[in-house]
């Protein structure tokens, strides 16, 4: 069985599974376990396919054409190259874990029918697998759209909640704008290609042609792609849907989105800018643009996350920030592709490694928020507190996730961020803007830490609020099927932090075949020969070192020394109540409300990201207005269509007429502009 066959089988299995689960959906548990079974099988196939391809020495497998729509030059062409294989591995892991998690988690939705979840989840995975294997823009968009629609239904699963419907509507509008942009770009390339074809190979040629004839048109196309994929990846200002949609979806689905769907934005980006795009000057210019977008997202989204009161919303903003890191790294990698292959390699490695690490801790953090919701029924951080006593394992895993996402050594987030900083500092010597980006990223990783500490501090530590006080008396962690995914991801965070060379090798194998620019580089040439530590070597000189294992052992020894000092005098210890200036305070009054964390800092930066729903501050700066995408772009759309959305989601069928019209009109307009430019 070739990888392509494995993938096809996986898709078929998932579609079949969707039908089966829909049929048996009368029983919640049967439905759940059957879904798990199908996903497990499909995941195994995807993993197998991905692993085989990554390990094989074959660089560029021939695409297999399954079906063709000859009239428009589109064909269902599938191929699993190493890059796809890398994504298949991620998809396989996350699909299985999030389905496993959902089997228990979905019990909290007693009102909703399971048929609205499992079959759609399975179709969603099928769509994602399709997206990363297809080699034709037409079918790429088919799978893309399939995935988007499925995810939309997952987002609005809790349909009784009006805010969920609003979030879902915003999501589908925004992502369809992105789809249209990608579609426009595809149509333009189809038009340019001789003969008219949607296939990737043809588009690469078409881009090469455009680069020579009308570079402006190619720039516009690249901008469309960038915006389109950045929207899916959640990069601000286009990814504004993300902090609304992720919290709305059930946690299992959110974890699946965070682990798979957002990453497809990066997949598309790399396909375009590294794989298909010829010509160095384009990657240089757009590399800076991508890095700039990434840095902007890092800055704005992470600062916005500080002021969030809802656990999932807080993490959603952090995720945007982490995507920003990936974009920053990829942007820098693209920038250096023509000038400095080592830096380019390390940049791309850092980006994809960070993406991979992100998959683990982002999904892990969504799982932990789900576990909190599962046990306490609340999602608002202000209503939690002291839950480490109730959910010790979840608390530990949330701690690991928090330290990973904020890049604390020796967890995995640090290893990839360390690489990003290396590239930005050493690359910044030649291009100082990257220094600024790198320092912003460093600063923001502390803000990420702060935001996640808000999550940990408000949810797990301290005194419980009166809402959860009755729960925290005894330990009652979530069921095993929810714990196992958390623990596996937590262990991955630790393991990949301690042994970064292992995943980096995989990333290296995935990314180098994409472009000839990297063909002269080797992993050991860039990051040293040691199997355990990273020695970043730029221009032949060692520029930075990070040896996680040695550092961790040394830290362990230092901690042992500290502990030894502490126990030197054998001081006795005694458990005492918390001291409130000498008064007996009821426990609930010791609860520190999440809203108060970093209040002065939050106040200083609150205008960076303004959301609808909050009263608008009369703040005149253009920065606030620019980032306030809600107000000038999405807000009016959402507002205008909210009633339609309601009907739409209730009926579950069809797409509103006006929306289609808008899509067609918009497409025609943009096409007209493009063609007029190209003439």
């Amino acid at each position: 069985m070739t990888p392509v066959q494995a993938v096809m089988h996986a898709v078929v299995l998932l579609v079949l599974g969707a039908v089966v689960t829909a049929v048996v959906s009368r029983s919640r548990s049967t439905c759940a376990y059957l879904a798990l079974l199908f996903v497990a099988a499909a995941s195994a196939l995807a993993l197998w396919g991905g692993a085989v391809r990554l390990l094989s020495s074959e660089l560029a497998p021939a695409p297999a054409t399954v079906a063709a729509v000859s009239g428009i030059g589109a064909s269902l062409t599938l191929a699993v190259d190493r890059f796809s294989g890398f994504f298949l591995l991620i998809i396989g892991v996350i699909a299985f874990l999030s389905t496993l998690y959902s089997t228990s988690y979905m019990r909290i939705y007693q009102r909703e029918h399971p048929a609205r979840f499992y079959p759609i989840l399975l179709l969603f995975f099928a769509g994602i697998i399709g997206v990363v294997t297809v080699r034709d823009w037409f079918f790429f968009l088919v799978f893309w759209e399939f995935m988007t629609i499925c995810s939309y239904f997952l987002v609005i699963y809790d349909k009784e909640n009006p805010s969920v419907l609003r979030a879902g509507f915003k999501y589908i509008v925004v992502t369809h704008v992105a789809t249209i942009l990608i579609l426009i770009a595809a149509v333009v390339l189809w038009h340019t290609a001789e003969p008219h074809s949607f296939s990737f190979a043809a588009s690469a040629q078409a881009m090469g042609k455009l680069a020579e004839t009308t570079p402006i048109a190619l720039h516009v196309l690249l901008a469309l792609w960038l915006i389109g994929f950045a929207t899916k990846a959640g990069i601000l200002p286009f990814g504004d849907w993300l902090p609304d949609a992720y919290p709305a979806a059930p946690s299992g689905a959110s974890a699946a989105f965070a682990g798979t769907m957002t990453n497809l934005g990066v997949y598309g980006l790399l396909r375009i800018f590294v794989d298909l795009l010829p010509g160095s000057q384009f990657s240089t210019v757009w590399g800076v643009a991508i890095a700039l977008l990434g840095t902007g997202s890092i800055f704005v989204a992470t600062l916005a996350s500080l002021s969030q009161g809802n656990a999932k919303r807080l993490i959603s903003f952090c995720i945007i920030g982490q995507m920003g890191y990936v974009f920053l790294a990829i942007g820098m990698g693209a920038y250096f592709m023509s000038s400095n292959p080592t830096l380019a390699l390390v940049g791309l490695l850092a980006g994809l490694f960070h993406l991979m690490n992100g998959v683990f801790y982002k999904s892990l953090l969504f799982f932990t928020t789900g576990s909190l919701r599962y046990r306490t029924g609340v999602g608002d951080l202000g209503m939690m507190g002291g839950l480490a006593r109730l959910l010790p394992v979840t608390a530990l895993m949330a701690g690991i996730g928090a330290l990973s996402i904020s890049g604390m050594p020796p967890f995995n987030g640090f290893s990839s961020k360390w690489l990003i900083y290396q590239v930005s500092v050493i690359g910044g010597i030649g291009f100082p803007l990257f220094l600024l980006f790198g320092l912003t990223a460093m600063f923001i990783s502390l803000v990420t830490l702060a935001a996640l500490f808000k999550y940990l501090g408000a949810a797990f530590l301290g005194q419980p609020s009166q809402h959860v006080a009755h729960l925290t008396e005894k330990r009652n962690d979530v069921p095993a099927s929810m714990q196992v995914p958390q623990v596996i991801l937590g262990l991955c965070c630790v393991a990949f932090g301690l042994f970064p060379m292992l995943p980096l090798t995989a990333v290296y194998r995935a990314v180098t075949p994409l472009t000839t620019a990297l063909s002269g580089t080797t992993l050991s040439g860039a990051l040293g020969t040691s199997a355990l530590g990273l020695t970043f070597t730029a221009d032949g000189a060692a520029a930075g070192v990070w040896h996680p294992l040695a550092s961790t052992v040394a830290l362990g020894i230092c901690m042992a020394i500290s502990y030894g000092i502490a126990r030197m005098a054998q001081a006795p210890s005694r458990v005492v109540p918390v001291w409130y200036c000498g008064v007996d305070l009821p426990q609930r009054l010791g609860h520190f409300h999440a809203h108060g964390f970093y209040e002065p800092f939050r106040r200083a930066f609150e205008r960076v990201y303004v959301t609808t729903g909050t009263p608008k501050t009369a703040y005149p700066t253009t920065l606030a207005k620019i980032f306030d995408v809600d107000a000038w772009l999405y807000g009016p759309l959402v507002k205008a269509g909210s009633r339609v959305a309601e009907r739409f989601s209730r009926s579950h069928v069809g797409i509103p007429q006006w929306y289609l019209v808008w899509q067609v009109v918009g497409m025609v307009l943009v096409l007209a502009v493009l063609f007029s430019v190209m003439r």
Partner: protein, 558 residues
């Protein structure tokens, strides 16, 4: 407006409701009204007659006149006059209409009367217990005459004081009773959003020493000055002087001129030391311990001077009703002048340095704002008021001791913030130095004590105010039998100033709360002098509440 005009206007307004009006001594007008009229009469005094609320006193007159009475004392500063508005209620259903809705500043004193004398304030916006301990039984009022001064009622088990609820979305930060910058116990519950204070609630009176009760049940006229001196550890002389002046007023005598000069000089010396002490504390609150150390170093000579003049650094023990015990002999004048000259020089250097210290200024300017209208409505006193541009100063408005001859001025500042209060105090420091010099120069010769021909008759009243470093202290006295007062009412300045704290710290940060509290130079022990038993708070793991209670009682027994 003269006294007659005031009486005239009140009579026109309230007719027969105004039962009596008398002015036994200049500067104190006593009005008695029907209890139904107490609220309109107070409102009229405040709004139309430009009277500032000072304090209320609840008085048990069951034995003499068969009633309980409530006296609200107002000050008409420009007319240099106190107006005491009295209403009587019967013992059954002792209830009188609250004036707090109109006279905001009366909030605490009406609650205090509720606690101690048992006259309910009907319609009080916040009728919670103020003074009595949490576990004090209901219906026991320690300032009633039938309550023995050493009685100790059985504590109520499981009693808990009612605090305000924190607003939604805020956290509670408990400040005190044990808190590093509050040298005395008081509990402030801050409702915070992060660092920002959105509201607060106060619970104090942990330090009750039953001084008023002692004064009208145990001590004699000439013993009270020594207890009054111990109302405060910093401005003790103020209280003993104030008491003596009030008692002299009630007795209808005046201390000799020289004694009054000595009182004035010592009061100013006390102000110098207190302001320097406060400057140090303010520095300490900001973590600027160098200011603490240096301000106290500068202050130290004056403590030695006091020891030299009176025999003690603090608690001078100088005052008696009718005069002072020791002279300030001309031999010591050069030493005093040297000492205050040195202090003036060093203080000027400090002021010069501090004024340009931007790190200090950013912590003080624009923080702890108390706008003038708020300062007037809550009736804050002393530098707290003068820092908000309210020009009241008891030395000017109600001259006592030798201030009719030693002219001073009320030093005001319109900054309304913590820095304004600092500036007012620093200027007052130099003003005090000037007054000491002038007092020494113009002090007349003469006796130190006035001879009393006979015992002070019962039923006389006296009210006097003295400008303490923190603001005006008020002593109100009704003479009684057995060589002791029938009622002795004390109000320390902090009592009134503390009520402005919620306004001052609203929307400030937690970091600014201590310095804002410090900027009014709070003195809790002065504020809390009424109760008869120690409050038992602060449960410790090792000692049970009962153990602590037992220990404290053993300690206070001989």
């Amino acid at each position: 407006m003269t006294t007659q005009q005031v009486i005239q206007e009140m009579r026109e307004k309230f007719g027969e409701g105004l039962r009596a009006a008398e002015e036994p001594a200049p500067g104190a007008l006593y009005l008695t009204v029907d209890k139904e009229l107490i609220r309109p009469a107070s409102r009229h005094l405040q709004d139309k007659l430009d009277a500032r609320f000072v304090i209320s006193a609840g008085i048990d007159r069951l034995a003499t006149e068969g009633c309980l009475s409530v006296t609200h004392i107002f000050s008409r500063d420009k007319a240099k006059q106190f107006v005491c508005l009295r209403a009587d209620v019967s013992e059954n259903g002792a209830e009188v209409e609250a004036i707090t809705p109109d006279v905001v500043a009366a909030g605490w004193s009406e609650r205090e009367i509720q606690d101690l004398v048992g006259v309910k304030a009907k319609g009080h916006p916040d009728p919670r217990r103020l003074v009595l301990p949490d576990d004090w039984p209901e219906g026991v009022h320690p300032l009633r005459k039938d309550f023995p001064y050493d009685a100790n009622p059985e504590p109520v088990e499981g009693a808990e004081v009612k605090f305000k609820e924190a607003p939604e979305g805020t956290s509670t930060v408990v400040v005190g009773p044990f808190y590093p910058v509050l040298e005395e116990p008081a509990q402030l519950r801050l409702f915070v959003d992060g660092e920002r204070v959105v509201g607060c609630d106060y619970r104090g009176f942990y330090n009750h020493r039953g001084i008023e009760k002692l004064g009208d049940s145990v001590l004699t006229y000439n013993q009270i000055p020594f207890v009054a001196e111990r109302i405060c550890g910093i401005c003790g002389f103020i209280h003993s002087s104030c008491y003596c002046e009030a008692a002299e007023q009630a007795a209808g005598v005046q201390a000799p001129r020289r004694a009054r000069y000595i009182r004035s000089i010592m009061l100013e010396v006390e102000r110098i030391h207190s302001h320097l002490l406060w400057l140090g504390i303010a520095g300490h609150i900001l973590g600027f311990d160098t200011v603490l150390m240096q301000a106290w170093r500068i202050r130290e000579p004056i403590m030695w001077l006091c020891e030299k003049i009176t025999g003690s650094r603090k608690s001078f023990g100088m005052n008696l009703v009718g005069g002072v015990r020791w002279d300030i002999s001309p031999d010591i004048h050069p030493e005093i002048l040297d000492c205050i000259g040195q202090i003036e020089k060093e203080s000027l250097a400090v002021v010069d340095a501090v004024q340009g210290d931007t790190t200090l200024l950013v912590r003080l300017k624009g923080v702890g704002i108390l706008p003038e209208e708020d300062a007037r409505s809550v009736c804050v006193v002393g530098p707290t008021a003068r820092g908000s541009n309210v020009d009241i100063d008891a030395r000017v408005d109600h001259p006592y001791a030798a201030y009719d001859e030693l002219q001073t001025r009320a030093i005001t500042n319109d900054g309304c913030d913590n820095w304004a209060r600092v500036v007012v105090r620093l200027e007052e420091l130099f003003e005090s130095i000037r007054l000491v010099r002038e007092g020494l120069k113009t002090m007349p010769d003469g006796p130190l004590m006035v001879e009393f021909a006979e015992e002070i008759p019962a039923g006389r009243q006296g009210v006097c105010t003295v400008e303490a470093p923190r603001g005006e202290a008020i002593h109100y006295l009704i003479t009684g039998e057995n060589n002791r007062p029938d009622r002795w009412r004390v109000r320390a300045p902090t009592y009134q100033n503390l009520q402005a704290l919620p306004l001052m710290i609203k929307d400030e940060t937690i970091a600014d709360v201590p310095i804002t509290l410090g900027s009014m130079d709070p003195c809790f022990s002065c504020t809390e002098r009424v109760e008869t038993v120690d409050v038992r708070t602060g449960r410790q793991a090792m000692l049970s509440k009962e153990d602590l209670l037992r220990l404290s009682q053993e300690k206070s027994e001989r």
